[in-house]
Symmetry: C2
Subunit: 328 residues, 2 copies
């Protein structure tokens, strides 16, 4: 499926929308706020243009996005599904494999690939892949080009949800002037940002708060106060009835300590299987440490898996971080 | 000092800046990101116009804002201070008393009052008081009107810090389209939002994290799962070496629980003095409950003080919330 097609086909994509009536919209598995927001925005927009639109994902929509209008219309892929369509939109999906089994629904239809990932393989017949904080920025651009009058509260809320998720509420360095300009436009449509934010970032289960309490008590800091780490032994989860999902975001706590540069989280997935997450704040390249243990990632966020006990993993990784940080 | 002067004197204020050379800039006690950011932005701007500028506060600059350029030039008020100036700017200060003892430096100078608080008493000789997410928005407006070419990285960083603080990183409902438009402009000056955000929101002491762990373990939820509360007995602070400052933001945890509408935090300031903070997410007016205990606040954030034991305060306030929530 990999072809080296040309990019930035905005005009062609507008033509395709104008000259077709049946669309299938999809995106990647493990859905997040950007892909759910993007597919709903495109669906709402195309339907307002009088098009027939189906949305299929090879995954479930996470509960925290069920507040979005029409999210219940997103179908989960199953082999019995039969959908007539002329054009497939794949959103926020860097390569064809990311849409998973939804690919089975595709035969000879036109494929339009809209995405903001720099390493996108341009697998579409038409591609709109440019640097942006979120794929939803490109959907917004498309809507503005085609028919700005179709913007409404539901559409604006879907796009805002995508922007807020992918920029961590305008905190990450991917946030561009354009991101804020789009958000300024969207606020004209009564978008309830406070509500959206609560659904995405402040939506804890009782178990996750109890887990956080236990994990915080494991906090350790090295003698230079530049390295901080916490751990989650398997039995913590059992004790509070939590799942690994409830541990989401916990590495943010050691990372938030004053003066800390490197934060590490050790998760005991199984007795001899320790998943390690590494984060840095400014200058330290955590991927260098992850590589030492056959892991990967990038400078500010990396990870690796160690097949040993929790204490041993902790000792090895913290020692490697200490070794590395001396070089700075 | 209270006079009913006219408002929205932007043109007069521009005249005053153009026709004077020595300025004193001040703001309220208990400084926050908006007033520190605003006074630094105005100082930087006026100095670039060739003016002589002193900045005095009747308080210390919190450590988390020491990264801002020229923050070390902010003087703390003391009775020996002698400053020659023709014009006083009071920023972000709803009434004259908010600047505290800095008022002692003022004799017959012109007072310019710039603020975004709706209940500002218009105590200045000239006033620029309008609805905005932050006072820094009005400073930005003033700069744009006077000389946009003076915008630079330091100035943009000061204003961005103010906007980010007062909108909770664009999450609060005070965020307006204009707030995002200003932020879009500021990003052209290489503002490091990620860094600013970490200083403001992710800057925990070890003690505050330990305190959070302990407080989270006190989490309780009522039978309807709509009311959640935590408490801080005085001995928690001693046990982890924390101060009440380390308890900042803790009411956000019970408030973040899925489905919760009302969150309550009980702080045992002294054995028979319980400070209660009430927060709601959507529809519940917490000030109604606070009023029952001679407290105050507004619909989504209120507080009161009870002179009784911790358990008794807990019982009384939670009972009052339950009573009230039944009416919805």
């Amino acid at each position: 499926m990999k072809k080296m097609n040309k990019n930035n086909d905005l005009d062609s994509i507008i033509n395709i929308i104008e000259n077709n009536d049946r669309f299938l919209v999809t995106s990647h598995v493990n859905p997040d706020g950007d892909n759910i927001g993007s597919i709903l925005a495109l669906k709402i927009f195309l339907e307002q243009l009088g098009k027939k639109v189906e949305v299929v994902l090879d995954d479930e929509v996470p509960d925290c996005f069920s507040f979005l209008s029409y999210s219940q219309d997103i179908k989960e892929y199953n082999p019995e599904l039969e959908i007539d369509f002329d054009v497939l939109f794949t959103l926020d999906s860097g390569d064809w494999e990311r849409i998973s089994d939804v690919a089975d629904l595709v035969d000879k239809q036109v494929i339009v690939n809209i995405d903001h990932h720099a390493d996108n393989t341009l697998y579409g017949d038409y591609n709109l892949v440019t640097d942006a904080a979120a794929t939803a920025e490109l959907i917004y651009q498309l809507i503005i080009e085609l028919d700005k009058s179709k913007l409404n509260q539901d559409l604006a809320t879907a796009i805002a949800t995508a922007l807020i998720t992918d920029t961590g509420s305008f905190r990450y360095s991917n946030t561009r002037p354009e991101t804020h300009q789009i958000m300024a436009d969207l606020l004209d449509f009564d978008v309830d940002v406070n509500y959206i934010t609560r659904q995405i970032f402040e939506n804890n289960t009782y178990q996750s708060l109890m887990l956080k309490a236990k994990v915080l008590e494991t906090l350790e800091v090295d003698e230079t106060a530049k390295i901080a780490w916490v751990k989650i032994p398997e039995h913590f989860l059992e004790e509070v009835g939590a799942t690994w999902e409830d541990a989401e975001g916990i590495v943010g706590y050691p990372r938030s300590l004053q003066g800390v540069e490197v934060a590490v989280l050790f998760k005991e997935y199984r007795p001899q299987e320790i998943k390690v997450s590494l984060r840095s704040n400014e200058y330290f390249a955590v991927d260098k440490v992850a590589h030492q243990f056959d892991g990967g990632g990038h400078a500010k966020a990396a990870g690796c898996l160690l097949e040993c006990g929790l204490e041993e993993a902790e000792e090895k990784v913290i020692e490697a971080v200490k070794e590395e940080i001396r070089k700075y």
